[in-house]
Symmetry: C2
Subunit: 456 residues, 2 copies
């Protein structure tokens, strides 16, 4: 039985393991779920141990543990570092889920669960391919290190320190990321850039307590008005960010880059239908794909204050709060952007309220993979063989902070080899993963390792 | 034993009844508490029945019941209609209460409970004065009708219909309101104007579901940005409402009116210390008291959307929501203001989102009591005697919708005779009532009725 026969024979068992993995609520942002995140780490370690003669280690950090494993039994062959994450986003708003987020449910060929696409099925795929190689051939076609973290959804605060400390242990020719997703379900694609992230939260404080809006209305400033004014000040009427210096380090797109994006098969009407927005919107002068992949953005992720219940409550609330994240492009420094944003908020602070800015430890620079990278070329070949057409090279609007961290500290590039699809409602209710993609991904990872092992 | 001796002898028992009354969570805005509101109505009716030979009636409405009672045994004497409300505001935010809102707690000379100042202690005062008269003299010094509603905190939606239908039953020389409050604790005052109310809620809908702000950021409009922009558009930088026509029907203050307000003993620094705001703020060109009493305002009472939990969640939320109320001055029509506000929001609707406006049934016109009203003159005399100084005539920033309703349908003016104080955190956490004011109020109501009974 070769590796592919093994994978085919075990596909139902593998799906059952994906379901078991996705039923663990490993929500890294919420301290209440710390025990569940730890449980997920142990589950991943057990899977690695069961896969074959891997050295497996659960490494405690200041936050959630890192699971590391390696097999270096192919001297003279390349070494790859496989990256993934076992933590997930919070499932809110819970009431919008058709089935509970941590009760994975098959409907048609889709498996619904929080984290199943981002990143549990893709992560487990890589372990199962190792298991298949060990079971069928007794070895892997190249040297493999696995690095699975539990803090990706909170900006990987522990990972950078770990990478710096354990540089030798992590050394490889390059990274293959099981995180990320294909652009669309109908065309194979490979991600060659990700945007960075800068985060900031602010609160506006007015009166010391909620006040009766009749008795006091007209007397003192309303923190909700102030917060709205601050947020409205962050963009101009053309959707451009107005924070001074925000675009200073942004390299404009070259004509050929714009041409390449323009030539991609992108159906804007279909995109709008998919996300449910009435029209596209964003920075004037750029196409939707350019704005999502190659232009920085500033989004308010949460805004709240005052009465949200049934009926009315006539208050001037004492507080208002906002959570903001920016997506960055290469050369923008997250710390610099946060400073500029802080200065903007301070300069625009409305009268009669007190502004407090907090900067979460949650930032990352953008990343671009060189188009001539041998790992990318190998991945292109595998996808071309599997799908019978040339994979598109696309950008990613989201952030995979470790790419830039691997590059900075270990001079290692990252090849994305992902079989989730960008429409799978990651970070939203009813996240799902296409079950056929699980099988395609298993076969493709097996071929990619084989191909990379032959390269030498 | 005369009426005053009776009240003195029973003051502890009366306080115990206030505590029992304030322990009923009669939150009219929240459908979950419908049974508790009904229980409060029955409690009030039992108090009236126990007070003496009153005809007591609990009248069902489309909403919460009205409690009505009357004693018309003084032919030739004036008839007054005593108004109050037994419903209360919601207690949120619960975590800010030092003791539970519906476990009335004495600390020093203050009784803390939701609704104790607005309006349970003042309402019960009037029943206890009737009881004292019946017990000590077998009769009241004038004819009295009691009208207690359970929907004041939701804009009295049933009351107007009731007043129209039962006009003859409610007919009196004028209304005395046990709702309202004195301006300050250290100076007696009488309210001679209240502001009206217009309410509007809106929602902004963007994508059909929460989207990943990395993947989609830059592609579609963010409803939180749109809501913030709409709210920011409602005031100019001088705190003036920018809704077209908002001030059209507002009568400017005359020089003598401004002079009268200016001469009131108002310590702005002390006011700011009380409410905890860093500076006063509001429409430029007016003093704080002018803005609170005699100028219309627009306040956002609630604003929310996206992620509000611990940590971060990088979404473009699908929805944002806001609740708005305006306080109006005489001649402004709430329906007209809501229309103008709706037109403003529609005209300013940002690109890429869908705006939905809802108009709650919650509105009222402003009201002014003629300064020569005989009921006002009697109240002035009683307070002058009780406190040894001339009561101030003040405005009220808040809304007592029934004043204008009584005026419109029954041509009856409303005299406010209130012993709560404006600093008692009504509509906020830790609402309280000053216990000595309970005793002062009992004595004063007894004197006022006596004085009005002698007028003929």
């Amino acid at each position: 039985m070769n590796v592919h026969d093994y994978l085919e024979a075990h596909k139902d068992a593998i799906l059952r393991d994906v379901i078991e993995f996705a039923s663990i609520p490993s929500i890294s942002t919420d301290p209440q779920y710390q025990g569940e995140v730890a449980r997920a780490a142990r589950w991943v370690a057990q899977q690695l141990t069961a896969a074959g003669p891997l050295e497996v280690d659960i490494i405690e950090t200041g936050g959630h543990p890192i699971v590391f494993a390696e097999w270096l039994g192919a001297p003279g062959k390349p070494t790859v570092l496989v990256y993934g994450h076992y933590d997930v986003q919070p499932p809110d708003p819970l009431e919008k889920w058709q089935t509970p987020p941590f009760s994975p449910t098959l409907r048609g060929d889709r498996l619904y669960a929080r984290g199943v696409s981002d990143d549990k099925a893709p992560l487990l795929t890589t372990i199962k391919v190792a298991q298949a190689y060990f079971a069928s051939e007794g070895r892997l076609p190249l040297n493999v290190k696995f690095l699975f973290e539990g803090e990706e959804e909170v900006g990987s605060p522990s990972l950078e320190g770990f990478i710096k400390e354990q540089a030798e242990r992590l050394r490889a020719d390059f990274v293959i990321s099981a995180d990320g997703a294909m652009w669309r379900a109908d065309v194979p694609s490979l991600n060659v850039s990700t945007r960075g992230l800068a985060a900031l939260e602010f609160s506006v404080f007015g009166p010391g307590k909620d006040l009766h809006s009749g008795r006091h209305g007209g007397g003192v400033a309303n923190p909700l008005h102030a917060a709205a004014r601050l947020i409205a000040s962050l963009h101009d009427e053309n959707g451009r960010v107005t924070v001074a210096g925000f675009y200073d380090d942004v390299e404009g797109l070259s004509l050929s880059e714009r041409q390449a994006v323009t030539e991609l098969p992108f159906d804007e009407a279909a995109y709008l239908a998919e996300v449910g927005s009435p029209t596209p919107y964003g920075e004037a002068g750029y196409t939707t794909l350019e704005r999502q992949w190659h232009r920085p953005t500033l989004e308010v992720n949460g805004l709240w204050g005052g009465y949200q219940g049934e009926g009315s409550k006539t208050v001037i609330p004492s507080e208002a709060h906002a959570k903001i994240t920016c997506r960055l492009v290469p050369r923008q420094d997250p710390k610099d952007i946060v400073q500029k944003l802080t200065r903007h908020l301070e300069a625009h602070q409305p009268e009669g309220v007190r502004l407090v800015v907090r900067v979460p430890e949650h930032s990352a620079s953008a990343y671009r993979l060189p188009l001539e990278h041998p790992g990318l070329r190998a991945a292109q070949e595998v996808l071309r063989d599997l799908y019978g057409k040339e994979p598109l090279l696309v950008g990613v609007g989201g952030t995979v902070p470790v790419c830039e961290t691997f590059q900075r500290h270990l001079k290692m590039d990252t090849v994305f080899f992902a079989f989730g699809v960008g429409d799978e409602d990651i970070h939203a209710p009813n996240e799902f993963f296409r079950v056929p993609r699980l099988h395609e991904g298993l076969g493709a990872w097996a071929r990619l390792w084989e191909r990379l092992g032959q390269d030498v």
